[in-house]
Symmetry: C2
Subunit: 298 residues, 2 copies
Amino acid sequence: MALLSILTPVLAAILCLVIGFMMVKSQQSEAPTTAEGKTKGASKTPVRPWVDQDLQDDSEITTGGGDDNDWDDSNEEEDLAHVPYSPPRYLEEKMLQRSKDFYTLMNQRRTVRFISPEPVPREVIDNVILTAGTAPSGAHTEPWTFVVVSDLDMKHQIRLIVEEEEEMNYRQRMGDKWVTDLAKLRTNWIKEYLDVAPYLILIFKQTYGMVPNSKKKTHYYNEISVSISCGILLAALQNVGLVTVTSTPLNCGPQLRHLLKRPVNEKLLMLLPVGYPATDATVPDLKRKRLDDIMVKI
Amino acid sequence: MALLSILTPVLAAILCLVIGFMMVKSQQSEAPTTAEGKTKGASKTPVRPWVDQDLQDDSEITTGGGDDNDWDDSNEEEDLAHVPYSPPRYLEEKMLQRSKDFYTLMNQRRTVRFISPEPVPREVIDNVILTAGTAPSGAHTEPWTFVVVSDLDMKHQIRLIVEEEEEMNYRQRMGDKWVTDLAKLRTNWIKEYLDVAPYLILIFKQTYGMVPNSKKKTHYYNEISVSISCGILLAALQNVGLVTVTSTPLNCGPQLRHLLKRPVNEKLLMLLPVGYPATDATVPDLKRKRLDDIMVKI
């Protein structure tokens, strides 16, 4: 009791300091630095012991940004001239057929770990990246960078970094309830496809940009924007018959960013090995939810 | 100095307590409740004064989850039988043409606020939602719920909630550096299309699920997964000639969740009004970055 009565007021004082510290930091929007793990606030570190720092969307920590609710109609574009917009319009039968065909195509998409080393036409990859770049983004900031790696040595260095982190993650989590068999796990941290796939696409989110006056310009909703862009990228890959493994490498974002010489405002969001499926490729026989399980009509 | 020398060990002790407390909480995955604003930790509240609580991806706050780096190859599916996978393979010329055609289609997509009230075939919307449901997700949790609203009264109630919050957001942020003209802003918080569009699609992320033993099952990377699903949904809409406004309503997630009677584990991520573009629709004359500005070759 005596000890507690001493601790209580001190605890209050320290929490106030921490709160003040965090508020100042977030207002200076130094959050990206925080995510880099360079200057971690005492109140942040313990909260996220395992999560990949690069998966925190720091932009949302800053104030403002609510003005961008309609993403591509941000204040910054209200000064732009408006032009007529009349996209192709399809008859209802045609519309229905197109909706069925696209569903059939996308429903064939699967995460495939068995990727063929066969070369893939570079121009196809360029078009896939261009397509991903058509995604909407908060205030039309287009906060994405797609690093396409085909260099054998670089792919191997990426594999080593990812596998080292993966093995650590698994070993550190051996106590976890759903981690039971080390032999089984081992197969999980070996990523042969990172060497084999003709292309590795590393997708970075730009948590902030630089404006002429060299001030930081926060990219609101950058993580959601880049994830939406990834969805369009996955559709573009499926459309040309290529496969990938949707992965978010845990904790190795900073190392990979340094390896690929990306600036500090960019955080790794996804790593996609891309290629044709191997001729003997297999996938787990999983099912998808039915329409009634994912849609509610009102 | 004396004071410091007394505080230092105490600070260490208190931080340990905080760490333990947070880890226990996160293991019980009570984070979603936190996001609801019911039990805010002192270390969280001040950090995010403005952000929509529903945009926090609480799953990443919990421990574990690193095992899901390869999303659809999570431990939970390792017991599933593997089946051969051989999707259609296209000749290089065909591949290249398909990649160009899909880019052309997606590059025509624009955020359109002028939506026609004309009815849209229900079955087309169903297929679009089905297509969005083919997205990959952490541990194949498929953590999405698509609420499709066509009821006139419900659409209007949604509009009232969104506009009220929008107006508050703008007024409260009048001091903001890039908020200069109230008259101009006013046009931003009027969302007529929420009444006019034949369908409103509200996309919820399920931050956790329930397993048979009625324990909470954390949905890792649920925000990224649902955002990717949104990207595929936008592609599916564009493919049938429908338009939308990509929006993330600030701060009204909880109100809309209650209005739509969604469970507490679901958080609103996006609100998409969907329909044909109005015949006199216009869009800001904005440009997209060039390939060299978004892609890096290594």
